[in-house]
């Protein structure tokens, strides 16, 4: 796990500057504190910051094949490298190391860009192919590892994080109005768009090829679901068989994710998913297992009680760190420096603290339960959609909407609602049950209200832009024929997962402390299998992740296996006010600063700040508004204006390799 960067001029006009490559990699030194490496010549430049996990002694990068015609810089893991290596050796490839990196080089020699389809893993890599005079960028199927790029005067500049691209002479950060509008609709910009103008994200499951004929991207993998009409015939097996097959797949997905030459730990939240992963690890290996969690001051958010239950049942060596409201406010600017996009909840901040804690305990790798809610239909939005659809069939029914009360037992504010109001909030789009976005319209509608705070200038530049319509145009052609649950799952797993969960709450906050997350539920074999499981086995009645409970429940304490979903949440606006509030909050939200940066209306923000300050309980929308505005202000300050942006930390103890030679 590492940071990668590179510069490639398809026209080979000049040799990429080593100085610039050094600056780029140093800007991401946090991702790879163990070693740095560079390779640059007339065919292009690659750079690498290494977090050594596999083949510690000889896995240095950039790495080449025997004759130096293929060079790679790679971030992530190819978990099936052991099997691929055997295949390649059998075909006559000579390997110098036992690293997964070298497997990429030879698999590419063998199959060209199509090699990516053989890789089971979380990866972003670049390959310079000197014979073909081209560069290939590739990103894993689900979007676990990031890679961004920009094109400056015909030169392709890419890196794991935007901050590295901004080291390239002439590339400046400017916030993109459409990226802002999308973030204040969906919670993230729609890839390849980012929050920065002219800086792009390679979307999950895509490769990019740059060569003399230009720069192009193509998708090599996407989420697939069966046609709704064929639901009953697609799956011949009964529920028990499905559960058994799922269990054995999950065991293998876990087993190959324990491959590392350093100790591997796990996150344990106390919910079903991370408990299931912990139990699966226990089945794979008998040695001591270290687990980690984050706790909160308020019982509204804290899950310590459930964590302790799992710890006792599965006998792990567990440590927890308390994240206070003050901690959240204090680390928030650093969190935004790493997320490199606006966020509407503070939830990434406690995970940033947790990764720091894990690192302090000497761990570089953790397995987590990420992805289960998306692929097995665990989120409340799926149940909410089911109830709304049931209601839409008989809109006049008095008792059908009463099921809405069952959806959010943990949200006291929502449950205090009179029935008439509860119904009104979920009524949006009820007259359009066939709309492909039926599931998500209430959520997007509520989030879009945040745009009330946009300044008149920002609104003018948006000129009536409609983010939901843009997404409509990006859906795969088969989408309209899928079951409604599959459609909703596609929006979660194909968009929110890479756009927010795996990035702002995942890679960016854990790699800030050089901690690599691994996610057995996101093994593409598991994802593809889950895609084929009939919707009725995922969400049975209002029993979410039903098939997952069937597959792994027997390895867990009953109270955990039967526990209803409680989404991970953290305290929001209250962190930023009161006597412990850090100084930057007042300064960045002041009318003067808001007017200077220009994205929001100063008097509206002033009213919001007053309201959050005075009120004991702040609603969803006001919370999201405050966190969103503060994060945009921090992006402006740190990326656009380069103020209070700490100098890149360079670890001087890391050894440096130039063109494969240690210096």
């Amino acid at each position: 796990m590492c940071g990668i960067a590179g510069i490639f001029d398809p026209l080979k006009r000049e040799i990429p500057s080593r100085h610039t490559l050094h600056r780029m990699i140093n800007a991401m030194a946090h991702r790879g504190p163990d070693e740095r490496g560079f390779h640059s010549d007339a065919d292009g430049g690659l750079a690498h910051a290494r977090l050594s996990i596999i083949d510690l002694a000889s896995g240095q990068q950039p790495m080449s094949n025997e004759d130096g015609s293929v060079w790679v810089t790679f971030n992530g893991e190819i978990f099936n490298y052991v099997e691929l290596r055997e295949d390649l050796l059998a075909k006559g490839h000579a390997m110098r190391t036992h690293s997964d990196t070298e497997v990429i080089v030879h698999a590419y020699e063998d199959k060209g860009p199509a090699c990516v389809e053989d890789f089971n893993g979380d990866f972003a890599f670049a390959i310079i192919d000197k014979r073909r005079g081209q560069l290939m960028l590739a990103r894993d199927r689900m979007g676990v590892r990031p890679v961004y790029y920009a094109i400056s005067n015909g030169v392709l500049v890419f890196a794991s994080e935007v901050k590295a691209i901004l080291q390239y002479p002439g590339i400046r950060a400017e916030l993109d109005p459409i990226g802002l509008d999308q973030s204040f609709t969906f919670w993230f910009p729609l890839a390849p768009r980012t929050i920065f103008k002219n800086i792009f994200e390679l979307p999950p499951g895509h490769i990019l090829i740059a060569g003399a004929s230009g720069i192009s991207t193509r998708r090599y993998w996407d989420l697939r679901f069966p046609m709704a009409a064929g639901d009953s015939t697609v799956w011949p097996h009964d529920e028990k068989e499905v559960a058994e097959e799922l269990e054995s797949l999950l065991l293998d997905a876990t087993k190959i994710r324990l491959r590392a030459d350093v100790p591997v730990g796990a996150y344990l939240s106390g919910g079903l998913d991370s408990s299931a992963v912990t139990a699966l690890i226990r089945l794979c290996k008998s040695s001591k297992l270290r687990t980690f969690s984050v706790g909160f001051e308020s019982p509204e958010f804290d899950e310590s009680q459930y964590q302790q239950e799992v710890v006792r049942a599965l006998k792990t060596d567990h440590q927890s760190i308390l994240c206070t409201n003050k901690n959240i406010a204090d680390v928030f600017p650093d969190v935004i420096r790493h997320t490199e996009r606006p966020i509407l909840r503070t939830a990434p901040a406690p995970l940033y603290r947790l990764a720091q804690f894990v690192r302090e305990n000497g761990f570089k790798v953790v397995l987590t339960g990420e992805g289960a809610d998306e692929i097995f239909a665990g989120y409340d939005i799926f149940k909410e959609t089911k109830v709304r659809r049931f209601w839409a069939r008989q809109p006049g029914s008095a008792w059908r909407p009463r099921l809405l009360r069952r959806l959010y037992p943990y949200l006291a504010g929502l449950n205090a609602q009179p029935q008439a109001y509860l119904q009104a909030f979920f009524k949006i789009g009820l007259d359009k049950p066939m709309d492909p976005f039926f599931s998500h319209l209430p959520r997007w509608h509520m989030t879009s209200r945040l745009k009330t705070f946009f300044s008149p200038e920002l609104r003018r530049s948006l000129d009536g832009y409609n983010a939901v319509e843009e997404l409509r145009g990006k859906l795969p052609p088969e989408y309209k024929d899928w079951h409604w649950l599959s459609q909703a799952q596609y929006l979660e797993a194909g968009h929110l997962l890479p756009g927010y969960i795996l990035s702002s709450q995942g890679d960016r906050v854990s790699m800030a402390h050089a901690v690599e997350g691994r996610f057995p539920f996101l093994d593409h074999r598991v994802v593809e299998f889950a895609g084929r499981i009939p919707p009725r086995l995922k969400l049975r009645g209002l029993d979410e992740k039903h098939i997952l409970r069937r597959a792994v429940g027997r390895h867990l304490p009953a109270s955990i296996a039967d526990r209803r979903k409680q989404p991970y949440r953290a305290p929001d606006s209250q962190c930023f006010f009161g006597k412990d509030a850090p100084e930057y909050v007042e300064e960045l939200l002041s009318s003067r600063t808001i007017a200077e940066s220009g994205y929001f209306d100063p008097s509206a923000v002033e009213k919001l700040v007053q309201k959050c300050r005075q009120q004991e309980v702040v609603g969803f929308r006001d919370n999201m508004s405050l966190v969103g505005i503060l994060s945009v202000q921090l992006l402006d300050r740190q990326f656009v204006r380069h103020e209070s942006m700490p100098e890149p930390q360079v670890n001087l103890t890391a050894s440096i390799h130039e063109d494969g030679i240690k210096s």
Binding site: F425, P456, A604
Partner: protein
């Protein structure tokens, strides 16, 4: 009586729900729900505001859109409430 209620409610809506957004097309008949002006805690804020501003008590069963979903509905509902309490 309603003349005093309406400006106070309008001001509450402007300051606390719209945050002064002048571009929002909002009149006394605009539905708070349909326009997305209030979220799930917004109605509770509205109830607390009305109770403290007009010294009334709003029973749970009265918290329905028929009474509270626009400035004019609130004016009518609160007006009736104030009238009945002065008569007693």
């Amino acid at each position: 009586m309603s003349l005093q209620i309406e400006p106070a409610v309008r001001q509450f809506v402007q300051e606390k729900l719209l945050f002064g957004d002048k571009s929002a097309s909002f009149n006394d008949e605009t539905s708070f729900l349909d326009s997305g002006m209030i979220d799930s805690t917004g109605v509770l804020e509205l109830v607390v505001f009305l109770e403290s501003k007009f010294s009334i008590r709003i029973a749970d069963e009265e918290v329905v859109p028929e009474n509270l979903d626009s400035v004019s509905r609130i004016a009518k509902y609160v007006g009736a409430k104030l009238n009945s309490s002065t008569k007693v």
